[in-house]
Amino acid sequence: MNNVSPNNLPLGTTPAFAGMHKWLQRGLIVCLSALVLEGAFTFPLLAIWYGWPELSLQEICTEFEKIRFSDESRECIYPYPLFAPAEGAGQKTAQDVWGVQPRPQYKAIEYRELIKRRDDRLTRQAEGETDSKY
């Protein structure tokens, strides 16, 4: 396979570029395999990180919306009306440090944190509290 005699080279590959083509082929196979694995596992792993199956996809969507717009009253409407304005249009609750480089004030969501967040809220609601610290 390392023989660079023109007779043994693939069609279109000249001896001068045989080594480069071999390495490019290895790189392509690595990329192909990585894209397959990423494609197959991204969705299930993300779903698990953010609380599925304890939380339904719509509940995850709801938690994202509450965090993103810093508004505990928000719910993920699904199915969303086809010609309605964007769900966040005109919102006034999201928290950022505004400037030429806006900086959001929400925190990264830790592993399975959305479940605890939902449970805490339900507990507070059960206790009759109204809490808008998020």
């Binding site: 693939p10 279109g12 196979i29 397959v36 779903a47 990180w49 993920c76 969303y80 964007a86 900086r103």
Partner: protein, 233 residues
Amino acid sequence: MMNTNTLTMGGMTNLDDHHLRSRQAQWQADKWMMVGALFLGTAVFGLIGFPLFLRGLALQIKAQRQGLSVRPTMVTLIGYLVAIDAALNSIGWALDLVAHHTLLARVFLMAWGNMFDAGYFWHYNELWIGGATAPGEKGWEIALLPVVFCMRIAAAIGFLQMKRWGQQWLIITCWFGVVAWVGYIANMTIFADVRYTGVVFPVIGWWLYDIFYITPFLALPYLHSVNREIFTD
């Protein structure tokens, strides 16, 4: 009288037979690889597509070893992989551009955003056009989906058919890819506060995830150094 139909080739009866068997072998391999690539392009069904694709690739390599005139392995790998790369990019961005209020987009795009790049989380679905709100992001989607990715898939098909226009347009669309990467990363870096604040695996996470989309960069040195005479007008 000697003509092409009576020439004897190693192990073959004549040129016509060799040509016919080569075409059949290539088509047989391509059927497996095309079905595989369709699954691979969907991302989530990639594990179904991968063995189908590999089976096609193995058939083609086997035909090559038997002395049949099939496509070079590199042309096959580049053609399919560049098309798959474009398809995977298109899925995410098409979801964001036209399907931003579906549950799928509002869970998985935003989960991905919160994990790697808050361009897909910060103020999501607040613009009138919906979807990602990070500065510049929508412009890249509108430019790259129809111009780069659609054209690249078309070029890859021509390239797999060993057409000269396929090779030429693959060079053009892979260079588009260089512009896309440099411009996209520069934009993302300039607005890094929006994109990487409050993110689980910022910057390095993004690079580890996205580095495997560099297939157009791997294709370019080959496209520029391959003997162009193997492609037909």
